[in-house]
Amino acid sequence: MANYIIRRLLTMIPTLLVISLVVFILIQLPPGDIITSTLESMRQQGMEASDEQIEALKAQYNLDKSMPMQYLHWLFNFVQGDMGYSIKYQQPVNTLIWERMGYTVIIAIASLLFTWALSIPIGIYSAVRQYGWGDYFFTIVGLLGLATPNFLLALVLMYFGYTWFGVSVGGLFSPELAEAPWSWEKFVDLLAHLWIPMIVIGTAGTASIIRILRANLLDELSKPYVTTARAKGVRPIKLVFKYPVRVAISPFISTIGWLLPSLISADAIVSIVLNLPTTGPLMLQALLSQDMYLAGSFLMLLSILTVVGMLLSDILLAIVDPRIRYE
């Protein structure tokens, strides 16, 4: 097992290097660079930049160097934890990203737990009572959920949140507490705001997880080893939970890996509608405004999280399923 993990870690390095090169090229692809956009905004304010100023700017961003050198500079700084400087926000990328990362993680974990708490019991129920009225009911509700756009649900919940509970619309905090230091009051305020994004983001995955779990479980339940267990006298509840659920659930363990990158990117639209201080909208902005260092950092972080997440999933899978462990 330890061997397996080390091997996987080592193969991650070349993978990430290739990705970093692709990311760097991608950032360079669109016409124009930071200098042109800076000059453009200066011009709009009625200023002309002198040649020396332009040269100084270029030197500041390493743009006077060759492409390979620019790449190495960027990569080297990134590895050391310096992700560069955002032109648009006039702040180091580090401060911009980490500030929002905490909230993103909180929302993502809350909505994931919500999704699982809802979909796993329903999925198991639907499989065990296949074609029962409950199965049909959840199928219809699930399909409705699948067909409802997230932002629409967000708007509806915001409306009810405001009219019924008087929760201020959008954001993670009430305006008067947003800048306040952490306190019990602020924590409670966070919980009062958290449920809307939790439900909106959480329900998005629910329907598909129910369907997948139901299908997997039905598949497992018809396997001979389940019949063997029944013939042994194992009772129905134990039969479902001890044997097939364990196997049927492993696809969701692999989604834990995909969850990590989705922390950053997913639900940008929901976050914008709900005005959440998460990383999604920031990344969208960075890509739209060609904020090179910010966008590049996001893409790189996404890739790292994807690769690490996949490793995590594989390790978890190996723990659940002995066949993988021994390969």
Binding site: T228, K232, V320
Partner: protein, 319 residues
């Protein structure tokens, strides 16, 4: 010898329903299984052998339905009850399954859970049916594994099925079925998926343990060669009906029903030396299905039945 049957199936009918309609799978089948004997159920695939076994274990589930008949089980000479009358989900049913009646299956490769250890799965059978501690259960499971010929049993207990060969897995399945000393062991084509050499080993293992534990065996197979090796009594099935029953000697030596005669003629080993090169006969060369379709079973002696019109039965055997 005419002791009481341990299992007496009477007019058992099962049907499966689907969008296409109702498909009757067993039509009023009746036969007896005598205590401590091996009754082989033989028939081509799809004839309803597994459904018969599953009905005995009350394992038929929707869309299948037992529509009539009784399966009278007499665990001891004095007591008997109809398995089909047991309440669905009652303790008696779980007591029966794996306790008084155990079953082994065709596919040893998939009959064990891939994610639990061998020990876990064998011990589970003990812990369900016997009030013993986990250490005691571990001991018994180990002993049983040794009895079915698994060496280093204690170490093997912690291994997973994928670390076992097909034959070894079938031994584990046998250990799991016999560890609670069932009164009836149902073997549903236990050797069909195995190599010929392994097949012979498993057959003799089942035979040996049958005597050691003194259990009664229902042995399902489509292979008459296997029937000759293991069976005391034979039940011939075709398309959800029983065509003939009797002792292995009666059925294999002097078959009455044309279908049984066809089955025997189609056996590779039966071809006369001179006919070696000739094409093997198929059952349909001998047996015209429509000729005797749906004839009721006629009892013509001690546990000997045949589904033929009276005038087609040799006169000296007519009831």
């Amino acid at each position: 010898m005419s002791n009481l049957p341990i299992l007496s199936i009477r007019k058992l009918s099962v049907e499966f329903s689907s969008e296409l309609g109702v498909n009757p799978v067993l039509h009023d089948i009746s036969f007896d299984m005598m205590r401590s004997r091996t009754t082989a159920i033989v028939g081509e695939s799809g004839s309803g052998k597994s459904v018969t076994a599953n009905a005995t274990m009350r394992l038929i589930r929707s869309p299948g339905k037992i529509t009539g008949g009784e399966i009278v089980f007499s665990p001891t000479a004095g007591t008997s009850f109809d398995i089909l009358k047991l309440q669905e989900g009652s303790d008696e049913i779980y007591d029966l399954r794996g306790g008084k009646i155990a079953m082994i299956f065709q596919e040893p490769m998939t009959a064990l859970s891939p994610v639990h250890t061998i020990g876990n799965q064998v011990m589970e059978a003990i812990l369900i049916h016997q009030k013993v501690s986990k250490t005691e259960a571990f001991q018994r499971a180990c002993e049983m594994l040794q009895r079915v010929g698994i060496t280093q049993a204690e170490m093997r207990m912690n291994q997973y099925p994928f670390e076992f060969s097909g034959g070894m897995r079938q031994r584990v399945v046998i250990a799991m079925a016999l560890v609670c000393q069932p009164q009836i062991l149902i073997c549903d084509e236990p050797t069909t998926a195995l190599d010929v050499t392994v097949q012979a080993e498993i057959l003799s293992l089942i035979n040996e343990l049958k005597h050691a534990i003194d259990t009664t065996v229902m042995f399902i197979t489509h292979d008459l060669g296997v029937v000759a090796q293991v069976a005391d009594d034979v039940v011939v099935m075709h398309r959800g009906r029983i065509l003939e029953t009797g002792t292995v000697r009666q059925v294999l030596k002097s078959p009455l029903h044309p279908y049984t005669q066809g089955l025997l003629a189609a056996m590779p080993g039966r071809a006369e030396a001179g006919q070696r090169k000739a094409r093997l006969q198929t059952v349909s060369d001998v047996y015209d299905e429509n000729e005797f379709a749906a004839c009721p079973l006629v009892a013509i002696g001690d546990n000997r039945q045949v589904a033929l019109p009276i005038d087609a039965i040799p006169s000296e055997l007519r009831p």
